[in-house]
Symmetry: C2
Subunit: 291 residues, 2 copies
């Protein structure tokens, strides 16, 4: 059972840490949500703890921080959790070392792994195309994991390398996230990390370990690193199937804002599969508390 | 309920048309199955109708015929049905014309479509990588279908083009086949057409029309073109999930040979999901009829 966020004061008092999804919540493409800046300032003034979570694996935390700041939002590096950073932390946590990671992904993913002292291989020497040639692609014996994220430089050769590493080396198969498409300008989309993950998962018949929302790994990392109280932590997002499910899976509070993807109709049916604790029109409704 | 092929004479008499899967049935990689050549000669001597069916979309029928002949097997062009040829026939059958097909696939697919007077686009002008660049890929307005097969030249840019054609142009989405992996030498594999199909299907949230085994389109085409009697037609294959299911779906007889992928254990359980009418050790068991 969901409820409209009516008693804002009580709600804000009950939460110490607000975890924000960004696009669809704080901004829409290049446009900041009205009074989003003031809302975050207000929460900071109340000494609330702020986190920003992104499934986007293409940017480093630094790059993501610069993006947040470009909207005029105050932000610090240790508040940012992305699926690339999460992947690096996860690999170190499970004691992955002395081996290398093969990456299908962009600079941000490589940089975050390297910053955590994980060695990466990113490019496949491009053999001539054709099955007679690509079948000769050899995987280095010290590849112990394959990490798949969004990659605008994806080639069939990279897919062969990832496939062989997983099948022949028994390498770990990790997905930064499984967002099926990637939103671009004018409301259009292009294939997302999840579609590339699907290719590798289909060819190898293996399921990946998934770092990003709605899986719990990234949230567990935040909770553990900052010793948060799940009871007093809230995920604020615009998507039921990623953000809100992420909060539900992680056993924290959830607030759906209606500025992005998911619509009120989706949670107002009695058989709706994903139900947030609260919903409200826009993140700046939290400002009401001020009055 | 399956049965071992004991009464070969009766079986051969009951069938007019034998449809053969090739790899795993007539040959194993570069090695011909013992007496496979003689078996086919024998069936031809009995005036049986022979067909060769392949899911491989990378070769033209001519190229596939040359391959069959290279094993010493007698073979004619009109006996060969491949998923690329099937795609071309299907497109003409549904009256697809005046529009172009975007291909993710190899030369064989392009050639078969062009031979049936279907215009194709195969390459995307490679914009610089990075989301800011690839999002500017524009799809020609006259692209009416996307055909996805095995493609060792796959790039992310091609995936973007296919995605946009399907989502923005509402182009037909056709898969030559959905084989998840592609067998290569030494018992190894690389990603197959089905893995590429899965990427596009995941990103667009659309299911393709599938031409190849085990779907019925290719078999219906053979039956219709050559006016075959389903009762007196038999599919001979080594894989339950493609060949035998293809025969079952198409309501013809099925014979599993044990020289390839599927094993006797898989059909001897009472709850086995895919059961051939008959099974036998090797295709050359059909020669027994001679004695």
């Amino acid at each position: 059972m969901t409820q409209k966020l009516n008693n804002v004061k009580e709600f804000v008092n009950s939460i110490d840490t607000f975890i924000f999804d960004c696009d669809g919540v704080l901004w829409l493409g290049s446009t900041i949500v009205e009074k989003a800046v003031e809302t975050l300032q207000y929460l900071r003034a109340l000494k609330k703890d702020i986190k920003f979570v992104t499934n986007n694996s293409t940017k480093t935390r630094e790059q993501f921080m610069e993006k947040i700041k470009s909207y005029g939002i105050e932000c610090y590096l240790n508040e940012i959790y992305g699926s690339s950073f999460g992947t690096a932390i996860y690999l170190n946590k499970i004691g992955f070392n002395n081996k290398k990671v093969f990456i299908i992904g962009e600079y941000g993913l490589q940089k975050e792994l390297n910053d955590q002292n994980i060695q990466t291989v990113k490019e496949v020497t491009r053999l001539n195309d054709g099955i007679d040639n690509v079948q000769n692609i050899q995987v280095e014996s010290d590849i112990g994991a394959v990490v798949v994220g969004m990659d605008t430089c994806l080639t069939y050769q990279k897919a062969v390398y990832a496939h062989k590493a997983i099948v022949e080396n028994n390498a770990l198969f990790i997905a930064t996230n499984t967002d099926t498409s990637y939103p671009i300008k004018n409301g259009k989309s292009i294939p997302g990390a999840g579609s590339i993950v699907s290719m590798i998962s289909t060819s190898t018949a293996k399921q990946p370990i998934i770092i990003g929302k709605p899986e719990t790994l990234l949230l567990d990392l935040i909770i553990e690193k900052d010793k948060l109280n799940r009871e007093r932590t809230c995920m604020i997002g615009d998507r039921l199937d990623t953000d809100i499910l992420f909060g539900i899976n992680g056993n924290i509070k959830t607030l759906l804002v209606l500025t992005g993807i998911s619509k009120l109709e989706e949670i107002s049916q009695p058989n709706s599969p994903i139900i947030p604790n609260y919903y409200t029109d826009t993140v700046s409704d939290l400002l009401l508390h001020k009055e």
